[in-house]
Amino acid sequence: MKKFLKLLSFIAMALSVTLVSTALPSAAAPAPGTVGSTTLRASHPQKPTSWNYLQDGTSALYVPTYLNILESLFETTKTGKLKPLLATSYTVSKNGLKYTINLRKAKFHDGSEFNSADVVYSLQKNKTGLSGVLNGPLDKVISVKASGPSKVIVKLSQPSNQFAGGLGKPSTMISPEGYFESANVGKKLIGTGPFKFGAFRADIDLTLDAYAGYWGKKPFFKKVIHEFRSDENATISALKTGQLDIVGMLLGAGVDQVKQFQTNKNYQTFFWPSTSASYLFLNPNTKSLQDERVRKAIAYAIDRQPIITAAVGGYGKPSCVVVPTWTSPWNSDYCPYPYSIAKAKSLLKDAGFENGLTLDFPYLTLAEFPVSFEILSAQLATVGITVKGRGLDIGTWVKEVWSTPTPVYDINHITNNAALSAYGCKLTTPPYGNNILCDPVFEAFIDNNDKIVDPAKYAQAMKAMANHIADESWMIELFSKNEPGIANAKLTGIAKYRTDYEMDYRKIKWKTK
């Protein structure tokens, strides 16, 4: 037994020596994180569930792939204008029904030539995509035909603002003809972008390899390792130790840590302008909420700034209109029911709820939702509304609340990037969807607005639509948030105006000085 104990002591000593020796910094520092390295390491909290973009509607798929691997016909610039990508230019007929699109010469990552047949194929496929991101802007497309190898003619059933804007969005992403019938589908993406789809480790990372045959300016980084990291504390530690160069988006615990990086010269912080609206939505099937005085009372009871401060680290802007992109021309300061406890109490009393009201509030147990629930429940309690919270994971929440003809909730909170037209009663987005609440005024806005070609008139019509939603109070906008990201200060070229479904690696490089 003494021998056994000696052996144990020896093992313990050997382990200690090994651990200490391995703990010493190695002479050859790891390449990523070093200025001059041609490998970039970035992280994003969302992991894609699929690589088949016809089936998958989550932004996680687009974040590493759109613009880097897959290119659309145009891209949308900071000012909302279209900039050529796979298309060089386009013309529109006077009646707004025919688009003639001219294409550039390019090669796919599999070596095949890009031509008009690929555009015809891709647009037809994208129109059948299951996600609104893909099929929404193509809704009015009635035909796509090739006119020679480098020209495509698209015909619409009616003029469509959504289509015009969609030319610079993922709805016109191009894959080679026959891709969706090939063995690659779901496993590997083939595009024309500056990076090729490299090694993929499910829920760990995706490697993007620079594409030597790219038609445009080649990216600086030869390799980008895009990691999927949900634990934001661990992500920030990795950034601090140089294992990461960019942390793409912070949604939860990491938001509170952004301030420490803002004063640290070794890092740069950036704030992606949100393309999502963060709002409360009320169940039209709940009897008490069918009384508009109760809905207005809820709207009056909400003080938005404390929610922004606590739930999204202060990186947001209070808002009363549901406009997904806060830079949209139809965004405004319109607020029909500004914070007023007295008015909220008075309306509840008029509605016969002077003794209070209890509502079911299932909330998502991720990102800002648990904290916002706590604050909202406290604010509503001050006017006599008791909310009973139920924390749900995303799968259960979607099943109970969203996309169901019999939703189980009274009041809820979501941050959603869907366009206002996605809330039509024939679609599924609550509270208007699933034919639960068919508001004829709102339906008329959806039908008519898309036909307006003049940008100024379109903005005016969209503003009227957003204000109508605010007046009705089935959806009560809370805030537009800035989504913070952090990067090594020595990096430049990060497209800080990009949306939450893009991490644009094309122009990132190390600063020369």
Binding site: P25, T49, G132, S237, L392, G395, T428
Partner: protein, 318 residues
């Protein structure tokens, strides 16, 4: 001996089969499916129906189960619903870091617990023994995610000795692999060391009051040598059993540790698969974990039979 093996083996197969049914049913009872996750807030009833049809989720539970278990018997766990990976290959690749993490933790925990536990037991009436016991209690109480974050902050961020996250295969670079596993193993092993320490301590205190210990002392052994030579041997066998039984707890702990340290193991795959309702991956993973635990139990049954003649003889009389 052969009878012990066969009886344990049949029990293991039956348990695995029953476990697979329970896992399958529980997964279907959890709200939502992969189609709702993939389409998220942009789903329509039509698009959900198309996706469910494509993934075979609209079939009856019995059909889905038979299709999956049939594949298992053919050695084919199938593909993830979304086609991103082949499940069998993915699990095989991810077993390496998880097994290193799990068995590495056991390898650290058992000898440490033996040394600390014996010391504590021999001093159990003194402040030194009580202190060790108190420290063990603290070790039991600290949540793994918290411990992991503290370790990362101290050893990776502030001291810069070890990487905060990541994993390199031992087959690629053993030294870097060891560096990357130091903090995860330390995190996972601390709690289990505390459990074992308390187990050894209690067991040793009991052993020290046994008649054979008095006999050993009467034969000239000191308290320490009697404890080490006789007491520890008797305590070590049940500790090994407990250690093996703790493998399930270690794999459960690896879910947290792998997520914090960015280790591409089966714990992390399990967590993300549950979150995304990748049911076919979850049930395959759960079955593999179940088989690992049951295999270890089988091994223990057989080893017990070999080590303890009373069990062999008892089995032989049946």
């Amino acid at each position: 001996m052969i009878r012990i093996f066969f009886r344990s083996f049949i029990l293991m197969i039956a348990s695995a089969f029953a476990g697979s049914v329970v896992i399958f049913v529980l997964l279907r009872m959890v709200g939502g499916d992969i189609a709702t996750i993939m389409l998220g807030t942009k789903a329509t009833p039509e698009s959900l129906a198309i996706l469910r049809e494509a993934f075979g989720l609209n079939r009856s539970w019995v059909e889905q189960y038979l299709s999956w278990i049939g594949g298992v018997f053919r050695g084919d766990l199938g593909e993830a619903y979304t086609g991103q990976y082949v499940i069998g290959t993915e699990i095989a690749q991810r077993l390496e870091p998880t097994l290193i993490l799990t068995f590495g933790s056991l390898f650290i925990a058992i000898p440490s617990a033996l040394i600390i536990g014996v010391y504590s037991a021999m001093n159990f009436k003194r402040w030194r023994g009580a202190s060790v016991d108190a420290v063990a209690q603290v070790g039991l109480a600290i949540p793994q995610f918290f411990l992991a974050l503290v370790f990362v902050l101290v050893f990776a961020v502030h001291l810069g000795w070890l990487p905060a996250t990541g994993y390199v295969s031992v087959f690629i670079d053993p030294l870097v692999a060891l560096r990357s596993m130091v903090l995860p193993i330390a995190t996972l092993s601390l709690g289990i060391t505390a459990v074992f320490t308390r187990f050894v301590r209690t067991s040793m205190i009991e052993q020290m009051n046994e008649d054979y210990m008095r006999t050993a002392k009467a034969k000239g052994h000191t308290v320490r040598s009697a404890a080490i030579v006789h007491g520890l041997r008797n305590s070590a066998i049940p500790l090994t059993t407990t250690g093996v039984l703790q493998i399930g707890a270690l794999i459960a702990g690896s879910v947290v540790v792998e997520n914090v340290f960015g280790i591409p193991g089966i714990g992390r795959l399990l967590l993300t698969s549950v979150m995304t309702r990748e049911a076919i991956t979850v049930q395959s993973l759960a079955l593999v974990i179940l088989l690992i635990i049951l295999s270890m139990n089988l091994l223990m049954d057989v080893l017990y039979g070999l080590l303890d003649p009373r069990i062999r003889h008892k089995e032989g009389r049946k």
